[in-house]
Symmetry: C2
Amino acid sequence: MPTPTLAEVARHAGVTPATVSNVLRGRGRVGEATRERVLAAIAALGYRPHLPARALAEGRAPTMALMVPSIANPFYPEFALAVENALRNTGQFLIICNTDGDPVTGRAYLEQIAGTLSEGVLVTNANLDFDDLRRTESRGAPVVLCMWERPLEPPGLPCVAVDFRLAGELAARHLIELGHWRVGAIVGSKATGIHAARYEGFLDAMRAAGLDGAAAPTIFTPDTTQGGYAAARELLGRHPDLTALFTTNDLPALGAMQAAADLGFDVPRQLSVVGITDIQLASESRPALSTVAVPTAEAAGLAVKLLRELIAQTGRAAKERKAPREATVCVTSAPRLVVRASTARAPTA
Amino acid sequence: MPTPTLAEVARHAGVTPATVSNVLRGRGRVGEATRERVLAAIAALGYRPHLPARALAEGRAPTMALMVPSIANPFYPEFALAVENALRNTGQFLIICNTDGDPVTGRAYLEQIAGTLSEGVLVTNANLDFDDLRRTESRGAPVVLCMWERPLEPPGLPCVAVDFRLAGELAARHLIELGHWRVGAIVGSKATGIHAARYEGFLDAMRAAGLDGAAAPTIFTPDTTQGGYAAARELLGRHPDLTALFTTNDLPALGAMQAAADLGFDVPRQLSVVGITDIQLASESRPALSTVAVPTAEAAGLAVKLLRELIAQTGRAAKERKAPREATVCVTSAPRLVVRASTARAPTA
DNA sequence: ATGAAAGCGCTAACAA
DNA sequence: TTGTTAGCGCTTTCAT
C-alpha cells in the first residue's frame, strides 16, 4: 500500500483536505473533536506528507545544496556533516554536489537545482564562477560562500568569513617562537589563489620577527596530500638546511610529513611541520600534526543560518525584499593554535 | 526575475504548455517550425524546468537517499562520491542522511523522505532496523543494501554483496605466507556483528595453514581508528610476542599502526599490520598500509543500477509489478590483496 | 469551526 | 501537429 494522500486521510476522518492540512500545520482554528478524529485517521493510515507537493504549494523547495569540489577530500565531509546537522529539524534536506573543481559541472548543478529542487546554495571552494553564482542569486536562490578567507575584503556575495590570514600568522609565529628561521613554505594554491591570505599571514609573522619571509623558499602546489608531498620533496631536496615547513593546509602538511619520512627526516627533531585547519586526520597522523584549528563547524552553522535568513527575505513569503547587502557577512570566532607532535624547538646548528 | 514557468514560455512562443512540454521531452510529434520557436522562447527566457513539479506530475521523486552512519567516517565519502557519479545525468540528485548509527534517526529520515522526496534508498551500515526498511519498501520506495558482507546468505532485501569472508582470508593468508603464526586479530564489530564474515575468513586461512586461529588473541572493538588503537595497545601489551595484527577494516588498522608507533614497535620490521577495504588513507599512511582492496566504486555503481531497476518495476510506470525477489542480489568482483609497506616477513625468533 | 475552490508548475491522455 | 482537460498532493484565501 503506497503512502496515503492527505485527501484520503480527510475522507477517512470525514472532513475536507483543508481541515487536515490545518491540523497538520496548526493553522486556522480546528475543533478539538475533529482534530482528534483527524489525528486518529493520520495514525491509522500511516499518513506522511509529500514533501515536494508541499513545497510546490508553498512556493519553497525541499532541500539545500552544498557545492564541494569532491566529498572525498577529507575536509568536506566534516563540513557537510556540520551542515547536515544544522539542517536537521528544519524540514529540509541536504543535496551534495561534487563539482570536481570544474566550473562547468558546477554550473550544470546550479542550472538544474538552484531555486527548484534547492531553495538555497552553500558554496565551498568548489571553483565556481562568480557570475554563475550571481545569476543564481538573481533567479531567486540565495547563495552563501562558506569559507571566505578575508573577513576584511568581502567578495560581494553573502559569506561566512574565517580569518585565515591570522591562521597563517599563528602558524608561522609558532614556528618562530620555537627558534626556527630557515623555514620553507608550501602554499596550496596559485600565488594569487585561495590560500594567499594564509601565506600573507606567514609573511607578516616573519616580518614582525625581523625575518625576511619573502626570501623563504616557497612552493605553490595543489592543495592535496600529493601536492604537499611533492612540494616537500622538492623543498627539502633544494634546501636540506630547512628546519621547518609552513603549510597553508593540513592535507599538504600531512603529505609533507610523509615526504619527510620517506626522505629520512625525523619529524619533529630535525624538521617541524605545521598545518592549518585541524581536520580529523591531523590528530590521527604519527607524529600528530601541529596545526591552527579553524572553526569549521561554527562556520557551517553560521552559513546555514545566514542562508535561511536570506531565504526569508527573498522568498515568496518576504513582505518586502530589502537590500540585504548589509548583514551578509558572518565572521567566525578566531583560529587558534593546536600544538601537537610535529613541531619542536629548532635544532641548534 | 525569478525563473519563468513553462506556461510563460508557452505564451511567449504562442503555443500551449503541452506543446512546450512535448518539445522539452521529445514526446509527441511537434512541427519543426514550432519546435524552433519554442526552443527560442526557452533560451530567451532562460527557462529551467521545476524539478519537484515535474516529479510530482510524473509520480516520481527527484532524489535518491544515501543512509550513512556518518559522512565524516572516511569510507563513506568515497562511497558517496561514487554514488553521486553514478547518479549524475540520471536527473536525480543525492541526499545524504547521517544516521549517527542511531536507528531512531534513521527511521526519522525514512519516514520523512522515502517515497516522497526520495524515490529510493541506498543503505550502508547505518545500523537501520530491517523492519523499518521493509516498511519503507512496502510503501513503494525500493531499498538497496550497499555492502552486504555475505554473498551466499542474502538478507532478504535487495543488496549488492561483497565477499568479505574472502577478503579476510586473503589478508590472513598474506600474513601466513610471510611466515607469521603468532598473529593477533582486531575485529571492528561485536563477535556476531557486521565484520564476522571477515573474521571467519581469517579463521579459515589459519585453519588451512594448520594453525589454531581460534587461539589467536582477538579483540572486538568499535570500527574506528580509536577502536583499533585501543585494541592494539591491549593486544600488544598482553602479548608482546605477536608478530602481526590482522584487522577487519582499514581504520582500525591505521589506529593499530599508531598504537604500534606509540609503543615503539617498528612496523613492519617487528610487527606487520594488514587491513581490509583500501580506503584512500591506506596508501597515505606511513608506512603505507597493506590491505585487501574491496571494489567499493563498483559496488556503488551496482547499487544505483539495482535501485533504478527496482524502481522501474515498482513505480507508477511499471506495467505489472513482478516479484523481484530473484535478481535482487548483485555480487561485485572479488577483493584483492594490495601489498604495501606495513607487512613484511616475520622476524625469525 | 469547517468547506469549497483555486492554484503551485508540470505531464499525460485524449480530442480536434 | 497542436490544444483541451485533468490531475499529481498539498496549501490557502475566502465563504459559509
